[in-house]
Symmetry: C2
Subunit: 219 residues, 2 copies
DNA sequence: TCGGGACTGGACGATTTGGTCCAGTCTGTG
DNA sequence: CACAGACTGGACCAAATCGTCCAGTCCCGA
């Protein structure tokens, strides 16, 4: 499970070859998301992808390398899905729009109620330190995106100067992850909603009271 | 991964036999906690336990049965660890004592920063519906213990009558789980602390304001 | 047209793992 | 003692899986 640099053979790659390569990673990512990494045999990837086994090994030296790419793709997908919205965040209203999109996303995808990153982290962090570090990096990037939005809110005077964007972002992600896990286990979206609401109440508790605020602010 | 009833052979069991059986489950639980269920071969359980393979199969028909028992043991451990404290909860102060014990527990155990139940849920809920349901039951039991405490707080007038103990309990557990996952992935207890603090702020937000609060309410 | 990467398809080896089987020993108790 | 259950120890099977290898075809651009 070593995290390698750019692939050896990636230098000379036809457009067609690159497309196939991406297809393999995408297929593997999907299967591994639903079944887990260990529970996804390469033969299944091969079948689902409609390629031959030798082709898979033509692009990837071993399963670990494939997993590494899957993780990288997950980071890319997360960033390209979250960044556009989070970058725009300058007010609580913006942040709530983001929350709403998380919710509708969960509902549209339906089961399984899992976070692609969280489930990878859970399975791999104990077994492969390279993967764990990559996943930690993804969480860090996510945290950064959220924290930046919160920081902008603070600059805009929406957030209390004493509020720590990084810490709030960690709390939000933790709530998200916990919500995903409970929702998946209970097969019910309610825990996810409850967790998200908690996180947003927590953020709101650091909102500079514009007018008389009903929700009393604890510390 | 079928969840069976009481074992077939459990009828005639010497004290010695029962002890060995428990030892097997405990050993398996520990290994599976640290490495994951799939990543724990039975041979390793056998070695770590100092028994012979035939003995393992003398007590358990297959690996699934062993996993089922491991889950049951996890429930038992959770309840016997949490119930005594949570049963006593009648005030915010009591609840905070419980939180403190969670924290010191995490610190004493050290790495891995995982929840034995959460990690099982994450790995098994996608792959075995029987296990998933058992784990959901454990989460439900945990939720119940917390919710009961919160309900007593409400009866005691410490909690707002409008507060929903069940919902608050779900939020607390979600924060816990998310905190564990982040802490484990980042190899840092801070996310766990942050998540727990969020959860407790959330509960406190439903505390009936007793008198003038000393903790400054930030404007 | 020629060459190289893309790709097939399946044989093959090695390893791991779950699971079976059994001959025989140990141990505690009625 | 006799017997039942506890236990050893390893041989053994079958399946899954990772990974290798190769002969040969297909496709595309210089």
């Amino acid at each position: 499970m070593a995290v390698r640099g750019p692939e050896k053979g990636s230098a000379r790659l036809t457009a067609r070859g690159a497309a196939t390569r991406r297809r393999i990673v995408a297929t593997a990512a999907d299967l591994m998301f639903r079944q887990g990494v260990a529970a996804t045999p390469l033969d299944q990837v091969v079948d689902a992808c409609g390629i031959s086994k030798s082709q898979l090994y033509h692009y990837f030296p071993d399963k670990d390398a494939l997993v590494t790419e899957v993780i990288a793709m997950r980071e890319h997908l997360m960033v390209s899905a979250q960044k556009p919205q989070l970058e725009q965040v300058r007010s609580m209203r913006d942040l709530e729009r983001w929350r709403d999109s998380l919710l509708t996303g969960l509902r549209e995808r339906g089961l399984p109620y899992k976070c692609p990153i969280g489930s990878l982290a859970n399975e791999l962090s104990s077994r492969c330190d390279d993967a764990r570090q990559s996943l930690a990096g993804i969480f860090g990037a996510w945290q950064g995106l959220i924290a930046d939005g919160l920081a902008r809110m603070r600059e805009a005077g929406e957030l209390d100067p004493g509020a720590d964007p990084e810490e709030l972002a960690v709390a939000v992600i933790a709530a998200l992850q916990g919500g995903y896990l409970l929702a998946e286990t209970m097969q019910d979206e309610q825990p996810f909603v409850v967790a998200l609401d908690m996180a947003f109440d927590h953020v709101k508790a650091h909102v500079k009271t514009p007018v008389a605020d009903l929700t009393q602010s604890d510390n």
